[in-house]
């Protein structure tokens, strides 16, 4: 067969099917992660969070309050404690996420208009249950407080609307844009799955180039391309581009078509987004192995880089909230651009014209390998990089 692109491609395909690690990384593991994240959190938001109560008052009012807490969807009173310390210890054990302490003489004080304080405690060391517990308990207490007030006013003959206007003159209505159910797993999966895919693309790309160097076959690979680095790389990486793109498109189909995750634009824009992510990850991987043309070092470093991408996606903590010096590094990660495009498309439903420039930025990563390609070429031809 003539030297060139096609020969490289054929050679690579033969390698791919003969080694199980590729099937593992390109099919089994991505599917496994998809299954894992879609089944990990069966509910969107944890409901029926366990809380406790310390009742020093033991009055009909305190019992009414306890019943109200238990009746809601959000919280569940699992135990009553005799004192603060025992309740706090159960928080430490992880048994409850928070507790309410009803003070002595609660009912008496409310009746006499003395404005008693009800202290409640929530565990902040686990962020999600902690903030949910805070939100739910404070909401319940203000409802109860408002409810008590409403009752008094109704007893005095005031109409409900008028009473509500005096209890809560300004009522804020907060609408989340794009994630209407405030579903935590929707929010997470959209970065975690592409992030894992990107990580696997990075590792496999570095591996498939580096293994040639390690086994001292790189010259043969280079020669089969007709001494053309560009053809050699494209021929080698194309099967992976196609394979991972198919997997990425499958991810999108499962999430948006099957599971009906929010998406405000035609799905092919997400396909494009995913494919660009894969290609730009491959480009970054080539750059990384140019930087360290030794397989184990390149793999380790790439792994560290790939995991760092999760933090730089802007998912957990907004990038503009980071210290300036760290913000600059965010441009090294195509996952960031991916997430931004996803937000605009899926959550905010922006017109596609406004994000075309962001798509173009993703393409810019393709130029990264040009920076150090001579270094890689030397390593391939001379095959003198240390194995260790």
């Amino acid at each position: 067969m003539t030297l060139g692109f096609r020969l490289v491609l054929k050679r690579e395909l033969k390698r791919m099917v003969s080694r199980p690690v590729y099937a593992l990384m390109m099919v089994l593991m991505p599917l496994g992660f998809l299954l894992f994240f879609t089944t990990l959190m069966p509910q969107g938001l944890p409901e029926r969070l366990s809380i406790g109560v310390v009742d020093h008052d033991q009055s009909s009012l305190s019992r009414k309050i306890i019943r109200q807490f238990d009746a809601t969807q959000q919280t569940r009173i699992v135990e009553q404690y005799p004192d603060f310390t025992k309740a706090r210890m159960d928080v430490q054990k992880g048994h409850i996420h928070g507790f309410v302490e009803l003070p002595k003489d609660l009912m008496k004080d409310v009746t006499n208009g003395l404005q008693p304080n009800i202290h409640f405690y929530y565990d902040q060391s686990y962020l999600i249950p902690g903030s949910l517990t805070l939100k739910n308990i404070s909401y319940m207490l203000s409802t109860i407080s408002g409810g008590a007030e409403l009752q008094v006013r109704q007893a005095k003959g005031q109409r409900t609307e008028d009473a509500m206007a005096q209890i809560l003159p300004i009522s804020p209505e907060i609408h989340p844009i794009g994630n209407p159910w405030i579903n935590y797993s929707v929010y997470l999966i959209q970065v975690l799955l592409p992030g894992l895919l990107q990580l696997m693309v990075l590792l496999v790309t570095v591996y498939t180039i580096g293994i040639e160097l390690k086994k001292k076959r790189s010259l043969k690979w280079y020669r089969s391309s007709g001494q053309n680095l560009f053809k050699a790389l494209i021929g080698k990486l194309l099967p992976y581009t196609i394979g991972f793109s198919i997997m990425g498109i499958f991810y999108n189909m499962v999430l948006f078509e099957w599971m009906h995750y929010p998406l405000n634009q035609p799905i092919h824009w997400m396909f494009l987004n995913t494919c660009l992510l894969i290609v730009s990850a491959q480009a970054m991987a080539i750059f990384l192995i140019e930087l360290f043309p030794t397989l184990p070092v390149a793999l380790s470093f790439t792994g560290l880089y790939g995991v760092l991408a999760f933090s730089y996606s802007g998912l957990s903590f907004p990038i503009d909230g980071m210290p300036l010096a760290m913000q600059g590094l965010s441009f090294l990660f195509p996952l960031r651009g991916y997430y931004y495009i996803y937000q605009s498309l899926a959550l905010n439903g922006l017109p596609v014209e406004s994000i075309l420039s962001d798509y173009a930025i993703q393409l810019a990563y393709l130029f990264m390998p040009l920076l150090l390609h001579k270094r890689l070429k030397k390593a391939i031809i001379y095959m003198n990089t240390p194995i260790r």
Binding site: V21, F33, L40, P46, L49, Q92, G94, V110, G113, Q115, P116, N117, I118, F120, Y121, D123, S125, L127, I128, G130, S131, L134, L141, S145, A148, E149, A165, Q166, L168, P169, I170, S171, P172, I174, P176, G178, I182, Y187, G195, L196, L203, T294, L295, P296, L299, S300, F301, G303, L304, F310, G314, F317, G321, P323, M326, Q343, L347, L350, S354, R388
Partner: protein
């Protein structure tokens, strides 16, 4: 006799330990994983998440009610630490454009009827629209708007015509019979890094151990002529000496790294650090041992040094979530809860969070420590059998291949 045997055992173990250290430091890939990851990564993360909170979320306000009341509300919203009014616009369309251009992350809309409703004693609604791409935005936006409205509501009630000539205190009492006072336990700043970093630090220890041990084993596998884990040509008499010797090598290294990651780093980045060194060690020891033996047990499956990096590294993120640190374990699918029990990080992350962020005592996290010891024991036994099998296999091959030169 027995004494000599014990002396011999100790010498052998020490020799193996030192030998293993030599292997570790000669291998640049392993050094990168063990040390760069454990030392530099936490610092990198520490700086990325240096700001505990995201303050001053930029918002746009659409105020269609030309009144002092609405302007007061807008001032109150702007005054909250969470929100910052960047733009004041006249219509929702303008606000939406700003939002689309990513200049603001949220919009507050005050309708025309705002002031007249309040004056007439009718309930009025204001609307907030918030970017959902980050939980931090929603949380901040929600708190900011709620707080401003609450404050304003109190003011309105206080200023309402006092027809019954009640005293200030009485008015307050009728409008708000019960006051709920919330106290956050542990993690006093309630910030995201204080919550994420400890979990990540614990996980890094396990992952780097498994990866590094795997790489070393893979290399040994590759370099050895028969592709076996332990060159059976060595003179060690007992497998457990080999296992213990290697484990000791990693353990000593990682005791230092562990203290660096779990005590020093939280200290310099002002994360919760309620645990003292002496309290940490009885927890760190079983965690490291469990991770080490887990790594050694898994290493029988790697037949070259790249496999652990390719395969195991990707499990890092799922393992973080399976531990239940962000999503309560009680709400995780039971199947995955079970899977999580096989990994030392599940108990390690929760145990450390309780020790360090919640100030729990060792007795309180007792069950987790016990679980870690059980895991350590289980994986030790597994490793022992796996090594044993390897040696037997290579002995058999050796004896078959032993050249019997005659004549």
């Amino acid at each position: 006799m027995k004494f000599t045997n014990i002396k011999q055992a100790i010498f052998d173990a020490v020799e193996i330990t030192v030998d293993e250290w030599r292997h570790v430091f000669k291998d640049s890939g392993v050094v990168l994983v063990f040390f760069a990851a454990c030392i530099i990564y936490p610092i990198l993360y520490g700086f990325i998440y240096y700001n505990e909170f995201y303050r001053d979320i930029p918002i746009a306000v659409v105020n269609q009610s030309p009144s002092s009341a609405s302007r007061t509300l807008v001032r109150k919203i702007d005054a909250t630490p969470e929100l910052k009014m960047r733009y004041k616009v006249n219509s929702m369309a303008e606000a939406k454009t700003l939002y689309d251009e990513n200049k603001v992350k949220g919009i507050v809309y005050i309708p025309n009827s705002f002031n007249s409703d309040i004056a007439a004693g009718k309930q009025t609604t204001i609307f907030g629209y918030c970017n959902m791409s980050g939980m931090m935005y929603y949380k901040g936006f929600y708190s900011g708007v709620q707080f401003a409205c609450l404050d304003m509501n109190q003011q309105i009630k206080m200023n309402a015509p006092n027809i019954n000539s009640l005293s200030t205190k009485q008015i307050e009492a009728t409008t708000r019979p019960i006051i709920g006072v919330g106290h956050g336990l542990y993690n006093p700043t309630g910030g995201f890094p204080s919550f994420l970093m400890p979990a990540v630090l614990v996980l890094i220890l396990q992952q780097t151990l498994v990866l590094g041990i795997g790489m070393l084993a893979g290399t040994a596998r590759e370099e050895n002529a028969e592709h076996h884990l332990i060159p059976s040509l060595k003179r060690y008499h007992r497998i457990q000496r080999v296992v213990w010797g290697k484990a000791l090598a990693y353990l000593i290294l990682y005791l230092f790294l562990g203290v660096y990651d779990l005590v020093f780093i939280p200290h310099i980045f002002k994360l919760p650090h309620l645990v003292s060194l002496w309290e940490l060690l009885p927890f760190l020891l079983p965690y490291l041992l469990a991770s080490i033996f887990f790594g050694m047990a898994l290493s029988v499956f790697w037949w070259n040094r790249e496999m652990p990096l390719l395969i195991f590294l990707c499990t890092s993120v799922p393992l973080l979530f399976i531990s239940g640190f962000s999503w309560p374990t009680s709400h995780i699918h039971p199947f995955w809860q079970m899977v999580g029990m096989f990994f030392p990080s599940t108990f390690g992350i929760n145990g450390f969070l309780q020790l360090n962020s919640q100030g729990a005592t060792l007795t309180q996290i007792g069950p987790k420590i016990v679980a870690l010891w059980i895991q350590a024991g289980f994986y030790f036994v597994f490793t022992w059998f796996a090594y044993n099998w390897q040696i037997q296999k290579s002995l058999k091959i050796n004896s078959n291949a032993a050249p019997r030169v005659r004549g």
